[in-house]
Structure formats: C-alpha cells, structure tokens
C-alpha cells in the first residue's frame, strides 16, 4: 500500500471466533450462542466447539453465550466454559474477562454453571474498544473528560 487512497480501497472485516467447552459427566449442557440477535448455534454441546462470524470494522456488536439446560439434579457441577474469544487474531480471554458480564453472577467469569447469559459487548468499534481496555492511553476525542 502506497498511499491513503489505496487504503480507502481495502476492505477489511473482523473475524470473530468463540470457543466453548462443555464440562459434564453424562448429560451434556445446552447452549445458545449469538452474535447480536443472530443465533450461531443452539442445542446441546457434547464437545468443545468453535463458532466463527464476521463483522465490519465499525460495527457495534455483542457476542453472547447462554446456558439453557443442564442436569442440575444429577450433575450440579456441569457447566459451559467460554474458553476463548478471538477478534482479528487478538485473544481476549482471560485477559479482558473483566469486560464481560454474566447475568447469573456478580463476578465476571467465563465458567457458566448457572442458567443465564454471558456477554461481551463492544459499544465502540472494536479497535477503539481495544485501545481503551488495553491501556493505550488517550484516544482522539473519545475518552476525553
């Protein structure tokens, strides 16, 4: 790339990959995995699985993992673990786990053992969000008090 004009012609999308791992003995838990309201997967999760979706650089979006079923009586310890979430080759877990929410727990965690939804939300374009959470300092107009 030689100049700005050539840069404007490039088209770059963000590849997102979320990996979830079930933890159970006999009865696999069920999950719903979503990119915003778009369902990437719904059903039982018998083994570790990754889901990939693309979005635009300036999209504001979220990824959600909901634990919808587990055998609470015979396997109370069963769970789903959000093992990794990678955006554009940048692994976000566990380093940025604090920026996720799990509505079944007050503490941020990626170990989902209660019915509820884990969510990581980008309320700014991903790279602006990443600039802020990774301690890159002041960002042009964006985080100025």
């Amino acid at each position: 790339m030689k100049n700005f004009l050539e840069l404007t012609d490039t088209n770059h999308t963000l590849t997102n990959t979320i990996t979830v791992r079930p933890y159970y003995d006999k009865s696999a838990p069920s999950v719903i995995i979503q990119h915003d309201d778009f369902v990437l997967y719904t059903g039982t999760l018998p083994e570790v699985q990754s889901f990939t979706f693309n979005c635009n650089l300036k999209d504001l979006y979220s990824v959600k993992v909901s634990l919808t079923y587990k055998d609470e009586d015979s396997e109370p310890e069963s769970a789903v673990i959000v093992e990794q979430f990678i955006v554009d080759d940048i692994p976000l877990l566990p380093k940025y786990m604090l920026h996720s929410e799990y509505d079944a727990s007050d503490d941020p965690t990626t170990h989902l053992d209660k019915f509820g939804t884990w969510c990581m939300k980008f309320d700014q374009p991903f790279y602006q969000w990443y600039h802020n959470v990774s301690g890159q300092g002041w960002l042009f107009y964006q985080n100025q008090s």
Binding site: M1, K2, N3, F4, L5, E6, L7, T8, T10, H12, L14, L57, K58, D88, P125, F126, Y127, Q128, H131, G135, Q136, G137, W138, L139, F140, Y141, Q142, Q144, S145
Partner: protein
C-alpha cells in the same frame, strides 16, 4: 516505502512553536539549523494561519505516501526499535503499525483523513496537542546544548569564541505574541495536551504566564500539561498552578545516575539533582501526576546509561529518550569505536539479564502497568543502535576540540575527572586537559 511506515497523524492533532517563534508541524521533526528562516514566525502569523496553510501541504504529502525529510528522526528511531514520535502520535488516534489498515479504518480520525484527502490537505480540526518552546532562559550549560536553548551557554559561547552574537530574544518575551498563542489555545474546544520546553521551564516567565492565563480562562481542568525540567530548580508557586490542570507530566532531564551527570549537565550536582527528583516524585504521587526520566544520551553519557535503566527499573519510572541524539554530530553515540560500543553493550545486556524476558512493545509509555517492558524496549533500542549504526569515529577530534573549548571555563573541570575510562580514547583524538 510502505504507507504504514511513513504515514503519521501528527499534523491533524499537533503543532509546535519553537524557541525563536517559528512554527513547526511536529515536536519530533528535524529542527532547522541557523541561520533561521523566519517566514513562518509568530511575529507575523497566527498559529491558525500556519495550521491552515503550511501544514495543509504536509498533510497532503503524508496522505500521498511521501517520505518527508523532516521525519527522518522518527524513521531512524524505528529502524533501531525505539518507539518513535510517529508511533506515539498514531496511537493517540487509535492506530497501530502492526494492525495498520484495520486500526486506520477504525480510527475516530478516519473521517477527518478522508476529508483532507478530498480537500487538498485541508482540515476542520484544530491542534489539540501543542509543543511550546518558551525560549532559552536556562541556568544550565549542558555540553550538548546550544545558545538557542540555554542563555547560560550563550554567554559562555560569547566568552570562549564559539559564538559571535547572542541569539535573538525569545518570542515569549513579547506579550503580544504570548497573547496570540494563548488566544489560540483558549479557542480550541478539545485542547488536550500542552508540552512546555525551555531553556529551563521553571525559570522561564512565559511558562508561568501561559499557565496562569489558561487557569484564568477556566480551561485548565480539561488540559494536561507536560514540562521538562533540569532538576536544578524548585518553585512552589508553579506547582500550585500546575495542580489546577487535569493532570501533569513531569519530565526530568538526567543523563546518568553517576557524577558524570555533573559534567554533562554542568553546573548540576548529582546529589542535589537526585534530591529534587525525589521531591518531584513525592509531589507526583500526591497529585497522581506522571513522572518520567528523560536522558539525553551522548557518546560520553552512554558509558553510564545502564545506571539510568537500573534506577528507573527499581523505581518503576518510564525512561523516555526522545530520539537518538543527532546534533551536535560530534556527540553522536555512533562516533564511538567498536570496542567502546561492545563494552557499553555488555553493561546494558547485564541489565537486561535481570529483566523479564517476555517481549512486549509498549507504545503508550505512560501506562504504569507496562513500565518495566517500556524500559526494556528503550534499552534494547540502544543496544541495536550500538551494534548497527555505521561508525562515525572520524568526528572524535571535533569532539575533543569542542570539549577543550568548553573547558576554558575552569569551573567545568576536565572530562577525564568524570570519565576516566575515556582517557585513552580522548587523548588519542587530541584531547589535552587545561592546566591551571
């Protein structure tokens, strides 16, 4: 050259006024040499006029992917792995070189870049990051400085014949020009950062005046102030004024934690400098200000550079050497012959042996969580420079001639008193200490 290696966002966010009142498009740009061209001076141009006209051309060239000669210091830093001003300015706009395309297109500045592309480099923005050189009032006579930056050195140069006339007085001595500058700052909605450089800022009237005016204009709570001090001054009134600002970056000039600092930064005394540094650290902690050490690394102080890293690593202080010293040329580290470079490298590598081994490039040098890695990166860049920069040892006779001229002022003493390891090197290049 690849666009990602040349492009810089600085001319969209930043502007500088130099000690003589000349405007510049960047604090890191190669500064002009005397005799100066005063065509872009505050005596007949407002900061905004320079921003709208001359900097428009700079923006256009950068968007076109041109390599600017004025930007060579940054390119040189990057060549040796030192974090450059360009990388720092890009980061302020959310752009990183390793993810250049993505971060450029995601940047909050992107729409402004598109506007400039479509409008011949024009921008509707104003500079929000200023570098203000307040003139040459200085109580220091550092050996690598010049009369344009130090009034003490200017007098000494007149006495020893190194200069025939005193530099023109600072722009900041003219109230009308200070008004012009302050008006620009006050009229900037998103004004974010102002870095002041002297001379010695703490004794420069304009430093205090501009701070007072910004406080009076009630914009200080949203502005960060940075300044560089030689640690030979202390002024409680200025500290009180600084406390009115959003936050403060205290940049302390010290070249080594060894008595050689007394020679290089004459007439500083290490014990006194360290006491002042400790006082600034207390003040910085009290106000949650940031404090950095800014060494100017010459071919002489490089011998003790490891002491800076050791001290800063132990005390978790950022080391920000703003560039590889280029001028005066005879103070370049590249003048050192191979065996000297190897000895310095060995000392620096011994320091690195005690540091964490995991690699992490730190562009935001002000992140307290990554100070140790920042120090390691800076140290590594000097090792790379020492190993790879072409030999300029032919400049050493010029160095010894210069030192002997400075030492006509007997208070300075002989370099050999402070740096005995250099005796053979200096003597073989013509150095003879003055005998009283």
């Amino acid at each position: 050259m690849d666009f990602k290696k040349t492009f810089c966002t600085s001319p969209w966010i930043h502007q500088r006024i130099a000690h003589n009142g000349n405007f510049q498009f960047c604090r890191w740009q190669k500064t002009a040499e005397p005799p100066y061209d005063f065509s872009q001076n505050i005596d007949h141009k407002t900061p905004q006029q320079y921003w709208d006209s001359n900097m428009r051309e700079i923006r256009k060239k950068l968007l076109n992917g041109e390599v600017l000669d004025e930007c060579s210091d940054c390119h040189h830093m990057e060549e040796h792995g030192m974090v450059s001003g360009r990388q720092k300015q890009l980061l302020k706009c959310g752009i990183t070189v390793d993810k250049f395309t993505q971060t450029m297109k995601s940047s909050p500045l992107y729409a402004h870049l598109e506007y400039s592309q479509n409008n011949e480099g024009d921008t509707r923005l104003k500079p929000i990051d200023w570098h203000i050189d307040t003139g040459n009032y200085c109580n220091g006579g550092c050996i690598m400085c010049s009369p344009y930056w130090s009034s003490s050195l200017a007098k000494e140069f007149m006495n020893n014949g190194l200069a025939q006339e005193m530099p023109r007085k600072s722009w900041a001595d003219t109230p009308e020009y200070v008004d012009r500058m302050v008006e620009q700052l006050v009229a900037t909605d998103h004004l974010h950062y102002i870095h002041f450089l002297g001379g010695e800022t703490l004794i420069t009237p304009a430093f205090k005046t501009i701070l007072q005016r910004l406080v009076q204009a009630k914009i200080s709570p949203r502005v960060t102030v940075g300044f560089t001090t030689n640690l030979m001054m202390w002024d409680k009134k200025i500290i009180k004024l600084l406390a009115e600002f959003r936050t403060v970056h205290v940049n302390c000039s010290i070249d080594c934690m060894h008595e050689f600092n007394d020679y290089q930064r004459y007439p500083a005394k290490l014990y006194s400098v360290m006491t002042t540094l400790n006082n600034w650290r207390v003040i910085a902690r009290r106000h949650s200000w940031q404090l950095q050490i800014r060494p100017t690394v010459t071919n002489l102080s490089a011998w003790h550079l490891d002491t800076v890293y050791e001290y800063c690593f132990k005390n978790k202080l950022t080391v920000e050497s703003c560039n590889f010293l280029e001028k005066p040329m005879h103070f370049r580290i590249s003048t050192l012959p191979t065996h000297f470079r190897e000895k310095i490298t060995t000392k620096l590598e011994a320091f690195l042996d005690k540091c964490p081994k995991d690699e992490q490039t730190v562009i935001n040098i002000r992140n307290p969580d990554t100070v140790e890695h920042q120090i390691v990166n800076d140290c590594k860049s000097y090792i790379a420079y020492l190993k790879n920069e072409p030999d300029r040892s032919e400049l050493l006779p010029k160095l010894t001639e210069y030192l002997m001229t400075l030492e006509q002022n007997s208070d300075r003493g002989s370099v050999l008193t402070y740096l005995p390891d250099y005796e053979e090197l200096l003597r073989t290049n013509g150095y003879k200490p003055h005998t009283n």
